[in-house]
Symmetry: none
Subunit: 193 residues, 4 copies
Amino acid sequence: MKRNKPKYKQIIDAAVIAIAENGYHQAQVSKIAKQAGVADGTIYLYFKNKEDIFISVFQEKMAVFVENLKEIIQQGKSSTEKLSQMIDNHFQVLANDHHLATVTQLELRQSNKELRVKINTILKEYLKLLDEILIEGMTNGEFDPTMDVRVARQMVFGTIDENITTWVMNEFRYDLVEIAPKVRKLLLKGLKG
Amino acid sequence: MKRNKPKYKQIIDAAVIAIAENGYHQAQVSKIAKQAGVADGTIYLYFKNKEDIFISVFQEKMAVFVENLKEIIQQGKSSTEKLSQMIDNHFQVLANDHHLATVTQLELRQSNKELRVKINTILKEYLKLLDEILIEGMTNGEFDPTMDVRVARQMVFGTIDENITTWVMNEFRYDLVEIAPKVRKLLLKGLKG
Amino acid sequence: MKRNKPKYKQIIDAAVIAIAENGYHQAQVSKIAKQAGVADGTIYLYFKNKEDIFISVFQEKMAVFVENLKEIIQQGKSSTEKLSQMIDNHFQVLANDHHLATVTQLELRQSNKELRVKINTILKEYLKLLDEILIEGMTNGEFDPTMDVRVARQMVFGTIDENITTWVMNEFRYDLVEIAPKVRKLLLKGLKG
Amino acid sequence: MKRNKPKYKQIIDAAVIAIAENGYHQAQVSKIAKQAGVADGTIYLYFKNKEDIFISVFQEKMAVFVENLKEIIQQGKSSTEKLSQMIDNHFQVLANDHHLATVTQLELRQSNKELRVKINTILKEYLKLLDEILIEGMTNGEFDPTMDVRVARQMVFGTIDENITTWVMNEFRYDLVEIAPKVRKLLLKGLKG
DNA sequence: GATGAATGAGGATTCATTCAT
DNA sequence: TATGAATGAATCCTCATTCAT
């Protein structure tokens, strides 16, 4: 399994840095290779093509969010608490890794429609977990049982996403973590049953 | 003033179609020119360069949103009503123009950071009007007076944006206008004082 | 005759200025038209095409040299005196018109081979008069009667030309007129019988 | 060092042929690449851009003149002999390579001012060696000690250059090598002390 | 597995010239 | 005569990918 060889992760991490520092369109394969300390050709021993690198970057990093969220769901008591922790975790992970935030919020979105569809597919696992929390809350009365789950999910995700993107576009000039409770409060009010 | 000459609007509209049908990176100047029924060189009598076309597209189309919103603010009675109408208008304009929706939600976001910053500057006028509504509502008690306006604004815009983008990515397979009241209800609950 | 209409000379002079200030390749027809205070299309009422402007510029300005030289030949006593005055005149005319010097010595030489052949044809009249002086001198014993006239002519013209071009490339930083007597002395020694 | 790789020289030689056969402005990169038997992109592994090819052509070819001249200076006995051999060498090298003669005398001069300045910088090394010969001759009494070296150098170079350019413009119709002794004789008489 | 030299397709932009007014 | 809006051909360079070593 290529995924477990050291050079695989080495290239993934190099890609994040190369994209963050140079921008999506300026993150050429040769730059990623240089950053990873391998030859250009070596990249193609681990990835099918350039697009495959970017998808893998998103996949690997998204896996962290999904894992965290699964744990949150397992350990959380109320739906409200689960959602709160999900929001906090989302903000915290990106607040702690500016490179990653730049890549996911700004750079990777410059990819073409086709690639974005693939990225969305990866994202779906995360959104499915979010749906679980929402449905649970609607069932147990914590959230409004009459609301449309898709719309609610898009409110939660859209609000989080917009807040983080704005923070990145403002070049991290304010503390993102301070925003989290405000977002949480607004969203929970909107959702509550 | 070039902006008022017929060919200016002709090229703008051609650009929307060319981008929607071919994608951002495949919308070559020659394609836009062909779609507009003018020679390639004619484009450059009205626009400084390709980027200028894209900025102008966003500017011209955004102007419709801003104009509508200004009218909504003038005629609306309560802040709640103003916000409701703003949401409805936003959904309706894009529901009626799939090409424009594709361009603003998916294609134009593939532009590089520099261009996106310019686009954001244009967007700010719209968001400022949204802020006005929110602040008014916080003052008159319709909305929660303790909330952070920026976060609230980002919830409203992020929720609208995410819902529309998802609709576009699902290739307009469901009726966007039916979503509007659901979005409106959730958001107003989140904001209310 | 178009040649005598005021706009003809107006465009010629505008071309010299446009070329001198912008360089050969940056002297677009539109710039020349603007400098001349006429519309782009008007240029084509007086000149067949862009090349025709440049040829005419050279023709009109070279005519001054030829006229002067004819007078020098008529009034001069010895061949030595005629050659001396030709050299002085050549240096003086260009020393007094930096724009013209830039155009003839640097810019017009950037034209393609075809145009340069045409320019050379115009130059030939001037060189023929120079040949006359040389042959006269070879006949009357002032110049070496065994020398090859073509080679001698090319020495005279090449020396003058190289000195002036160097002066232009040094951005007129020294006094060209001071060079003339030194050139004259060297050339006459080379030629003398 | 790219300069020593076989493809470097291969491209340089291809450029000379492409320029000579098509003219400066018609020597597209793709033509040079085709002539060199490499892909267009390969050019850019060896040269920064198109201008860099042209500068390098001049540099590489001028290096031959400079090298020859250095040897001539070392082995020559009198200043007169050194100058004579310099003239002969200059004529001979170009007489033997019509392509090169076309390129240096006609085509490369169509470059813009900026490039010509760079070319002149390369030429300076050659002219400095010429100055050395002249100054030596002025010191040892072979040449006129009162003459202005710059003017003398410009006479020598201008005369050689004009004779060769005329030969190229006459499409090599006569034997250039026969001109050399005539040029030599005239110049030496002009310079002698 | 690893290298890196070589490939070659693809597009924004300029500007001389025309021609309807 | 004079205008100037419109035309459209033409080219340098980048960079993802391959493959001989």
